[in-house]
């Protein structure tokens, strides 16, 4: 079946969008987090067909949870709990009811002013979760590690960066990697007490922000970072601190990346230039053994090996977020619309 794209205007700029996974059945509901509006909110939506015979599903809002500031990130802690970071410096843990998706979201924990300049509020720019732990970053340059189960701050790295931090990713349970507004990447050992990064390196020489970081699902030592310039960098953390490869990709900042949960050869990226791409990373992840039996990382310079598809015609406004569940991809954009792409082959 051909790719089917369907957009719905929702009267809010969508900054984050996430499928709510279901057991045994195709997921139907999803979260959105809005930004840049008078009042922003986290909403729960469900795809419904208004007429039985209709093939087209339209999202209908089931519940709305207004927040202060912009929603900057939404990540799952477990199946029904999300950690939400906000631009007023707060982090919230919210729960959606398993039985009745329509019932209002329940606030489980609220970390007030987690990131701040003293009294002044400061944006909590992003967070990542791993097995119930939450690592948050902010414009204050601090890193906080929270327990999403007990609702307490377990560890803080004050002044982790002299610049504001914009992206974070758990590498291991006790290790995170952060990226700042100038493209400085730092790896932090959360057990260390000296507030010094375990390693640091540059995303690119252009001084532009590292907008998102992810690791490869099956080879966690492979780290990908997206830049404000639209390029994509890949590191093999076992090898050295220089990116193995840096690809000029989108024409404006990479806003989010995701490896397909079912097929680690597929990478999806979206950008401020309104593009949604699907990358075939197979060639890249096929590691070959060098002469000394050392596994080497296939360099990306061989661009022919990269298969990139554009999944939708470029929007006129930034696409801020994407989330993929099997053959269906959700996108949220600054044109106040969400898009559902069906029949995606993975």
């Amino acid at each position: 079946m051909p790719l089917d794209v369907q957009g719905t205007f929702v009267s809010q700029k969508i900054n984050k969008i996430r499928w709510i996974a279901e057991d045994y059945v195709e997921s139907k509901c999803f979260f959105t987090g809005s930004w840049d509006d008078e009042v922003n909110s986290v909403k729960v939506w469900s795809f419904e067909s208004p007429h039985e015979e209709d093939e087209v599903d339209y999202p209908r809002a089931l519940s709305e949870y207004p927040v202060e500031g912009d929603v900057t990130e939404i990540k799952f802690i477990d199946k029904n709990k999300i950690a939400v970071s906000l631009s007023n410096g707060d982090v919230k843990v919210l729960e959606v009811s398993v039985y009745d998706r329509q019932s209002p979201l329940r606030e489980v924990f609220h970390f007030k002013k987690l990131h701040n300049y003293g009294e002044e509020p400061c944006s909590c720019t992003s967070l990542d979760t791993l097995e119930g732990d939450i690592a948050t970053i902010g414009e204050d340059g601090n890193v906080n590690v929270l327990s999403g189960r007990r609702g307490e701050v377990m560890h803080s790295i004050k002044g982790a960066d002299s610049c504001s931090l914009h992206s974070i990713c758990f590498i291991k349970h006790n290790e995170v990697i952060t990226g700042n507004i100038r493209g400085h990447m730092k790896i932090w050992d959360l057990k260390a007490t000296n507030n010094k990064p375990a390693a640091s390196f540059l995303l690119a020489g252009d001084e532009l922000a590292a907008t998102c970081i992810i690791h490869h699902p099956t080879q966690p030592h492979i780290i990908l970072a997206g830049s404000e310039s639209g390029s994509l960098a890949v590191w093999d953390l076992r090898m050295n601190s220089f990116p193995t490869s840096l690809v000029n990709a989108h024409s404006a900042g990479v806003s989010e990346m995701q490896f397909h949960p079912e097929n680690p050869h597929k990478l999806l990226t979206c950008s401020a230039s309104g593009e949604l791409w699907d990358w075939n990373m197979e060639a890249m992840t096929k590691s070959s053994k060098g002469p000394d039996n050392q596994v080497t990382w296939m360099p990306l310079e061989d661009k022919k090996a990269m298969m990139v598809n554009s999944l939708i015609p470029a929007l006129h406004k930034p696409i801020n977020s994407l989330h993929c569940d099997k053959g269906r991809i959700l996108c949220g954009a600054d044109n106040e619309a969400v898009y559902l792409i069906k029949n995606f082959k993975y």
Partner: protein, 567 residues
């Protein structure tokens, strides 16, 4: 609140006084009032007394009134329209670029239809909201919005037929009939019911004859004939005669192989035959059939007699053209419009005026009229723009200078500025302003510089947009604003990386008391080396010297400090 040159200095003959007067609700405003502009269409009114009051208790009653225009387009349902149509608008600008080198009329038609479907979706959303709304006042508001967008779609459709669509042979009748059927459906349901039931003696139905006549007037001749067969006297000679006349009506088709001239001759011949049948008085016993015959020979009094069955003259416009001049070309409809509109003296509605002006081909008047619609200029902006790109707009001012592009630009600028006021829709507004350089970009610059920036994420978005449109000044001022914030928060690193402050460190480095610590100095040094290309070499050297001196003295001072602590 109109700031564009077009609206504040209306073109000749089209000027109207749009000023509204509001009574200030409070006593404190009775003496003197002052007024200060805020951002966008907002201002504040405050009581201002010029004498210094000795009794301060007087002022306790004083109030400040914040006044802003209530903007329909900012309601959630209409925000969908704003965003979706923005996409189409931008596609249209792209299509217009390619149209400069090749004909792109098909693309324009496609986009025009897209606009109409956006309006229809908007109407559907409004209808859904109206059906759910329980508050009476709110419901009425929504219903009035529905009326507004109904007329917008109606006018747009007619405009599309008359100016954008590619009509074979320019024979407009089939399109006109389609327009009438689509926007003024009448008797359709009754006709369908009767045909479905398919019972002889259908004339028992109270609307039988109105339905038959209605179908004739809408040009659905086949349906009318089928209905006539359901009459209990359907087999009589009178009915057969009318049926025959309806059946034998020549229909023009550009692909039919005959010229318009030939068609005109055969059609006139047909009508003459009908006329002779009518004058033979064979239908005298069946006044309704006689009415139908009088309609199809284009008898003015017959149309006049049925006019009161319809809510507007648009309903009969298609029929009138069909039975008086079916060969009419697109721009020959003014007479028909005048004839139909004149059949009944009824108060002229706004929609009447718009349709009349449109059929008369007076686009200047049309645009002037649609500017009066309270949709915050959405319709006027987009319609003018598409007509402009199709090359169908030619508007002259008093001095016979062509002001078409100025008109388009002023509408777009005003609409763009309006959207830029909104916290979220600013980026939509910006894309309108950017489509009208250089004036649009100048306005964008002024507005962007004043936009509140709460987070770096927003700052980055604004800078990216500003750079995209070449507004370097905006990018710099936003950088400076972010730097200042970091500085006040005591975070030098964050401050310096927002580009412009690097050189500004120079005086601080040279100040009597050390401002930067040695660590800060290292940071600035690093910055400088990474960014040295952005400064000219003389300045960079100067900065290096200052950094070295600062490092020397701070290193000494800090060294002392740690020693003291150690002791």
């Amino acid at each position: 609140m109109n700031t564009s040159s077009f609206s504040s200095a209306p073109l000749p003959g089209k000027g109207v006084d749009t000023a509204k007067t509001f009574i200030l609700p409070d006593k404190c405003f009775q003496k003197r009032v002052g007024c200060a502009w805020g951002r966008g269409n907002k201002f504040t009114i405050y009581p201002r007394s010029q004498t210094v009051s000795k009794t301060p208790s007087n002022t306790s009653q004083d109030k400040l009134l914040n006044i802003r225009q209530d903007i329909l387009l900012f309601t959630p349902i209409l925000r969908k329209l704003v965003n979706e149509s923005n996409g189409t608008f931008l596609s249209l600008q792209k299509a217009a670029e390619t149209a400069k080198v090749s004909d792109n009329q098909v693309e324009f038609l496609k986009l025009s239809r897209q606009f109409r479907s956006i309006i229809r979706v908007c109407i559907e959303n409004l209808q859904e909201a109206a059906s759910k709304e329980e508050n009476g006042i709110e419901k009425n508001n929504i219903l009035s919005h529905i009326t507004i967008f109904y007329s917008i779609e109606c006018i747009w459709h007619l405009c599309e037929i008359l100016y954008i669509d590619n009509i074979p042979g320019d024979i407009v009748l089939p399109y006109l009939l389609e327009w009438v059927r689509f926007h003024f459906p009448c008797h359709e349901q009754t006709a369908a019911q009767l045909l479905e039931a398919c019972e002889r003696g259908s004339e028992e139905h109270k609307d039988y004859w109105d339905t038959v006549v209605g179908m004739v007037v809408q040009g659905r001749v086949d349906v009318a004939r089928a209905l006539l067969k359901l009459h209990s006297a359907g087999e009589s000679n009178e009915f057969k005669l009318v049926d025959n006349s309806l059946r034998s009506m020549p229909v023009y088709s550009v692909y039919g192989g005959i010229s318009t001239g030939e068609f005109t001759i055969s059609w006139k011949h047909w009508q003459a035959e009908c006329r002779s049948k009518l004058s033979s008085r064979v239908l005298a016993s069946q006044p309704k059939l006689e009415l139908i015959m009088r309609i199809i020979i284009g008898d003015y009094t017959a149309f006049e007699s049925i006019r009161n069955k319809y809510s507007s003259w648009f309903d009969i416009l298609g029929g009138w053209v069909m039975f008086t001049a079916p060969w009419s070309r697109r721009h020959e409809l003014g007479g028909a419009a005048a004839a139909c509109a004149g059949m009944q003296a009824s108060p002229r509605s706004h929609l009447d005026d718009m349709v009349r002006a449109l059929l008369e081909g007076d686009l200047h008047q049309v645009i002037h009229e649609i500017q009066q619609i309270s949709d915050n200029g959405w319709f006027a902006t987009h319609l003018t723009d598409i007509l402009f790109h199709c090359g169908k707009l030619n508007i002259m001012d008093k001095q016979q200078t062509n002001v078409t592009s100025r008109l388009r630009e002023s509408l777009i600028l005003e609409y763009g500025c309006l959207l830029m006021e909104h916290k979220s829709l600013w980026s939509v507004g910006l894309s309108y302003l950017a489509s009208c350089p250089p004036e649009g970009l100048r306005r964008a610059e002024l507005i962007l510089e004043r936009m509140p920036v709460e987070t770096e994420a927003k700052a980055m978005r604004i800078i990216a947009e500003a750079k995209k449109h070449g507004l370097i000044g905006v990018a710099q001022s936003v950088c400076r604003c972010m730097s200042a914030r970091h500085l006040s928060a005591g975070r030098l690193g964050g401050a310096l990386f927002w580009e412009t402050l690097l050189l500004d460190t120079l005086p601080l480095l040279e100040s009597d008391e050390a401002v930067f610590t040695s660590n800060d100095t290292y940071e600035i040094m690093l910055c400088l080396e990474l960014r040295s290309s952005s400064l000219d070499s003389e300045k960079a050297d100067l900065l290096r010297l200052a950094l070295a001196r600062n490092l020397a003295r701070t290193a000494l001072a800090e060294g002392d400090g740690t020693e003291e602590q150690a002791q």
